[in-house]
């Protein structure tokens, strides 16, 4: 457990170094970020992503409904005026918080929309990494019970 944690830390430290040295490569974008996706709580995942306590920013907008008719499909989009390098969607109360992560090369708009599953009503986080720094916005999405099955 401890060992694993340490290696995770080392792993992200290496990436942190790489990032600060401008060495983020296609390799990182294409190698599935296992540690982050398997991280449980939201703070764990922030750490693994090298984003511990990201700052709230009004420049980041999370496009999500106030109420989802069904938790199996919740449309979520992130858009920002910043020059984003990466974006991520996290759901606080999902078994694993990180839902998706995106890498935005130069020439691609800082905009993405996808659909995620939510087990219950929860805060949804939209994260943007710009100039090497993670920023975020948060919104509560209510998941309602629907239909006859309840």
């Amino acid at each position: 457990m401890n060992q694993q944690r340490r290696s995770v830390l080392k792993y992200s430290a290496v990436f942190g170094l790489m990032a600060s040295a401008g060495l983020i490569s296609i390799a990182q974008a294409q190698e599935w970020n296992k540690a982050a996706f398997e991280g449980k709580g939201i703070d764990d995942v922030f750490k693994i992503m090298g984003a511990s306590s990201p700052e709230k920013s009004s420049a980041v907008t999370l496009n999500a409904p106030d109420i989802a008719e069904n938790g199996a499909v919740v449309p979520v989009g992130i858009i920002t005026s910043l020059k984003a390098e990466q974006m991520a969607i996290l759901v606080e109360k999902n078994p694993s918080a990180l839902a998706a992560q995106f890498f935005i090369p130069a020439g691609t708009d800082a905009f993405v929309t996808t659909r995620i599953k939510m087990g219950q009503t929860s805060n949804v986080y939209g994260l943007v990494k710009a100039d090497g720094k993670w920023l975020m916005t948060v919104k509560e999405v209510k998941v309602t019970l629907g239909g006859c099955g309840g």
Binding site: A68, E69, A72, P75, R115, T144, G146, G147
Partner: protein, 271 residues
């Protein structure tokens, strides 16, 4: 003293009224938010994935006769798919029966491809031959999108099917005493937050009939009308309606005829 009491009462009343309006407006905003949610998911209907697969299946030789379905007559002549679904169910002379889209496709698969309809009837939804059927249905109904629903009861068999369907719509049974009408015969009703169309009127029938088959978000599956009706009966706590049985076709006839003049919006995207 007296005045205080009246004041107290008045305040209480105002408070009660306020609570009432706030709970009503909370509900209204909840249904508004659901409408927004639906708008957000409307773009990118996964039905398209099924439709593409269906078009391929339509044109691919299959079955013991190794033939395609391209000469299938859905009512507008052999090979005419465009607009055909908007006019189903209808009477077919060759089978001497009123058929809905799926029972008609079974006839085509049998006649053109030599496939056994019983295998289709017995297969569970979303599996085996039904999987093919679902994709083909997605393809066919997409080619009627935007058309007006135009179902005839001119033939005596069509009229008979309509009457049987209307009666079936009100037929109560099962341990919960439900009929289709228990939920779908009044305006402005909801189960949880889901609006229930009043299928006994044109507007409501068009909202129901016009949007199915659809991709169902809750199950992540494309559902044909037969599967939709099947699940209605399941929720009604009825026994299992046999695939393409007369009760399913009769109910379809009743809904479609009532919906006449409405727009085909299939494939829909539903909760």
């Amino acid at each position: 003293m007296q005045r205080k009491l009246t004041l107290g009462l008045a305040t209480g009343l105002v408070a009660a009224l306020l609570t009432m309006t706030s709970s009503v407006s909370a509900q209204k905003s909840a249904t508004d938010d659901i409408a927004k949610y639906r708008e957000m998911i409307a773009d990118g209907n996964p039905s398209e994935l099924y439709e593409a697969a269906g078009e391929e299946l339509w044109k691919k030789p299959a079955g013991p006769k190794n033939a395609t379905l391209e000469q299938c007559n859905l009512g507008l002549g052999p090979g005419v798919v465009k607009g055909a679904a908007a006019q189903l169910p209808r009477y077919f002379k060759d089978t001497n029966k009123v058929q809905d889209l799926e029972s008609r496709l079974m006839t085509c698969m049998q006649v053109l491809q030599g496939r056994d309809p019983q295998e289709m009837i017995d297969a569970p939804f979303q599996k085996g031959p039904k999987k093919d059927m679902e994709a083909i249905v997605a393809y066919v109904v997409t080619l009627s999108k935007g058309d007006k629903i135009k179902v005839s009861t001119a033939h005596p068999k069509e009229k008979e099917m309509y009457d049987l369907g209307k009666r079936a719509f009100f037929f109560q049974g099962g341990p919960m005493d439900f009929s289709c009408a228990s939920c779908h015969a009044e305006n402005g009703k909801r189960i949880r937050l889901q609006d229930l169309p009043n299928i006994t009127e044109q507007k409501g029938a068009a909202l129901g009939w016009g949007y199915w088959p659809a991709y169902r978000v809750s199950s992540g599956q494309f559902w044909t009308m037969q599967q939709r009706l099947n699940d209605c009966f399941r929720q009604q706590r009825f026994p299992f309606p046999i695939y393409s049985s007369d009760v399913t076709i009769a109910l379809s006839m009743y809904m479609a005829k009532t919906a006449n003049g409405g727009t085909v919006e299939t494939p829909g995207l539903k909760r």
